[in-house]
């Protein structure tokens, strides 16, 4: 075939492929959802979050959520999710965000687990004037490096996890002398360890760090690191390991009695504690990045969300699921508040943004207050506890809750400065 015709046909096909889809019903709210659907972060975070979005949206659309979320959809408008995989480089994610905003024409976006993506997407959301709600990523840098009108985060930052861990260690080991760290060598691990070190030094000025192991992300084999930790003099080991690495570490450490000889603090251990119940000895410190999962309060929202999730997906929701659920509920609360102020008519995005700022709402994890970063960043209380096997079931005991102001920096203060000032309120 004549190559020029081939070329024309190919170009036509490409143009058709890139053409925007037909506009959908005016009444619906198109909600972009971005989470990892492939790769190592899919199992522990992305898929549980996507599942939570599915079930919450379905229940909310059918008016089955408890008060004050009982109205169908967002103020009567049906929620139509558009789900995107968070995989690939930041370039790919920025491209897909732009496509979500300008090709699929979503009304708003809830998503992002990777801090790198959150950092890259925030200015783009601002440029495209697209309301974007981060639900999981941990870096405090989002609102500490810049201010945004269109960007919100409905979960607390990772600083809370480290400070909470340090406070909990203080209650467990009042005479602490040496700590060690085992964190993945990338921004999340480095920041978590950095924050924990700074916090523990405030609480125990003479504490020493005997070793800080920083294996490559997804290394999978931790034999040498475990030996190094065993031979160190540390009493407490801090780790922010997650996903497959977390589970591989527990599986490899269990027969070598590392967790019995030292107290390990798993700041994000909640995702693994049920599956690996037999490998984790009693007394191991577990966190869930906030009051989620095992630490969730017994309120009506949790009584609605957790069984519905478990019925549909077979496993209880983990903290990524809780964070996604509260993001959707938070937006719904703000949307309906804006709609009421707008005389019952569908609010403009600017009105929703105004309502989201400083909003306070309650979800399955408890109270969420958009209190810092000029009302764009949420704070919540956090909880830590110790594992205990009761009749073969994994439970948490000795749970301590720390109020939001104790574990989150005040408005306008950078996390690092706040910790180093001795947690000045």
């Amino acid at each position: 075939m004549d190559p020029y015709r081939t070329g024309l046909i190919a170009a036509a096909l490409a143009a058709a492929a890139l053409a925007p889809p037909a506009a959908s019903a005016q009444d619906a709210v198109k909600l972009g959802i971005v989470a990892f659907l492939s790769g190592p972060a899919a199992g522990p975070f992305g898929v549980p979050a996507r599942n939570a979005a599915e079930i919450v949206i379905e229940q909310v659309n059918n008016g089955k959520a408890p008060k004050p979320y009982q109205e169908k959809g967002f103020g009567g408008a049906k929620i139509e999710p558009v789900v995107i995989d968070e995989a690939g480089s930041t370039t790919v994610q920025v491209t897909e965000f732009r496509n979500l905003a300008q090709r699929a024409n979503v009304d708003l976006v809830i998503g992002y687990i990777s801090s790198g993506n959150c950092l890259a997407i925030a200015p783009v959301a601002e440029e495209l004037k697209k309301l974007t709600v981060f639900f999981d990523c941990g870096t405090p840098r989002i609102f500490e490096d810049a201010a945004y009108k269109y960007v919100f985060r409905t979960s607390p930052t990772a600083t809370m996890d480290s400070v909470g861990a340090a406070l909990y260690v203080q209650t467990l080991k009042p005479g602490l002398k040496t700590v060690a760290g085992l964190n993945q060598n990338y921004a999340w691990g480095q920041d978590s360890w950095g924050d924990f070190q700074a916090a523990i030094k405030q609480l125990f000025p003479k504490v020493e760090v005997s070793t800080s192991q920083m294996p490559k992300l997804f290394a999978g084999q931790y034999g040498a690191e475990i030996s190094a930790l065993l031979t160190s003099s540390a009493e407490v080991i801090h780790t922010s390991f997650w996903g497959g690495d977390l589970e591989a570490f527990i599986l490899q450490a269990a027969p070598r009695e590392l967790m019995q000889q030292k107290t390990i603090v798993f700041t994000t251990g909640e995702t693994a504690m049920y599956r690996l119940a037999k490998q984790i000895p009693d007394g191991t410190v577990i966190g869930a990045r906030g009051p989620f999962g095992a630490f969730a309060p017994d309120n009506e929202y949790n009584r609605w969300f957790a069984p519905a999730f478990k019925d549909r997906y077979g496993a209880p929701p983990n903290y990524a699921s809780y964070q996604m659920a509260q993001a959707i509920l938070g937006v719904k609360a703000a949307w309906e508040k804006a709609q009421a102020a707008n005389g019952g008519k569908r609010p403009a995005i600017d009105q929703v943004i105004a309502a989201l700022e400083h909003v306070e709402f309650t979800g399955p994890g408890g109270a969420v207050r958009m209190a810092i970063a000029k009302g764009h960043q949420a704070i919540m209380e956090t909880a830590y506890g110790q594992t205990k096997l009761v009749n073969g079931q994994m439970t948490v005991t000795n749970v301590k809750r720390y109020p939001a102001e104790q574990v989150n920096p005040p408005d306008g203060v950078k996390s690092v400065d706040w910790i180093n000032s001795g947690f000045k309120k």
């Binding site: 492929a17 370039t91 491209t95 300008q102 950092l119 783009v124 810049a146 060598n185 921004a187």
Partner: protein, 311 residues
């Protein structure tokens, strides 16, 4: 390589893109900008591939270009896109000059794997540098052109026009280079290096020159991608980025200086298409597409346009 129609075709296509730009949606302008910028990297890879050298670490220079541009903005508050582009190109070119002394000694798979090792070492260094944000990277300053920041609605268009212009200049320059004796040595080196030496030409010198040009082009591409995306992170140096570049190189073919850009546009369009239509299986779609191209179009997509010229 067909020299007769390459330049006019390329310039015409780019001029058309620039002219149509205001009519196209923003997301398409963005996609084109990214594709053309990465096309520059691939143009460099094509140069090396002609000499029989496959670099599995071209991401090294891509990353250096991006970080040089980003650092210029972050530490010296320079946001002019032309300066950023020059910085990226120069930094990467200098790095290629220095490393070329080592790399030009290697051939075949060892060239590829040493380049891979070097790019992964840069990755490691960047991950450890908390001043650069480690794996989270940092956002680059919004770009300006001759001191002016374009209005919000024109940002994507202005950047696309700049990229189109630079791509046209680069492609024409490379085309000219390929017509010179030094440029024509590459296929000879691939065929039989010893005979090239017997002819009196220095294979090492030719390879070094190709390597520096490829590095500079990659740095240029990296600086543009950084300006377009607004964010840089160490993943720009990771081996999967290099893999993507090689993927597109083979996809486009090595038949012409236009091939890299055609291949890049097709690849990023298909990737975006795959993400949209099958968020759960986009990798499979991409892999299948590549397989089909390799099996049915062994000389890349460009061969579709050159079949006619075979007598």
């Amino acid at each position: 390589m067909s020299r007769d129609r390459t330049v006019p075709i390329l310039v015409a296509a780019l001029a058309a893109a620039a002219a149509l730009g205001p009519l196209l949606p923003d997301w398409m302008l963005f996609l084109l900008t990214i594709a053309l910028s990465k096309g520059l990297v691939i143009l460099g890879l094509v140069l090396c591939l002609r000499a029989g050298l496959v670099s599995f670490g071209q991401a090294l220079y891509f990353c250096i270009g991006g970080y040089a541009g980003g650092a210029l903005g972050r530490f010296w508050h320079v946001s002019d896109v032309l300066l950023v582009m020059l910085a990226g190109m120069t930094a990467a070119g200098l790095a290629a000059l220095a490393l070329g002394f080592l790399m030009a000694k290697y051939r075949g798979i060892f060239f590829g794997l040493l380049s891979l090792a070097l790019s992964m070492i840069l990755y490691g260094l960047l991950v450890k540098t908390e001043a650069f944000g480690s794996t989270d990277g940092f956002n680059v300053l919004p770009f300006t052109l001759f001191g002016i920041r374009p209005a919000e609605a024109w940002v994507r268009y202005v950047l696309l026009v700049v990229v189109c212009t630079v791509v046209a200049v680069a492609a024409i320059a490379v085309n000219r280079f390929l017509a010179t004796p030094l440029g024509q040595l590459a296929p000879a080196i691939k065929d039989n290096e010893i005979r090239v030496e017997y002819m009196g030409a220095s294979a090492r010198y030719a390879i070094h020159v190709n390597y520096v040009v490829a590095g500079a082009l990659a740095g240029l591409g990296g600086a543009f991608v950084a300006a377009a995306v607004g964010h840089i992170d160490p993943e720009m140096a990771y081996w999967t980025t290099s893999g993507e570049f090689i993927f597109v190189t083979i996809l486009g073919g090595t038949g012409s200086v236009i091939a890299p850009f055609l291949g890049a546009i097709m690849f990023y369009a298909v990737q975006s298409f795959a993400f949209d239509l099958s968020p759960n299986t986009w990798q499979m779609v991409l892999g299948t597409a590549l397989l089909l191209v390799i099996v049915f179009l062994p000389n890349g997509l460009w061969s579709v346009f050159t079949r006619r010229q075979r007598a």
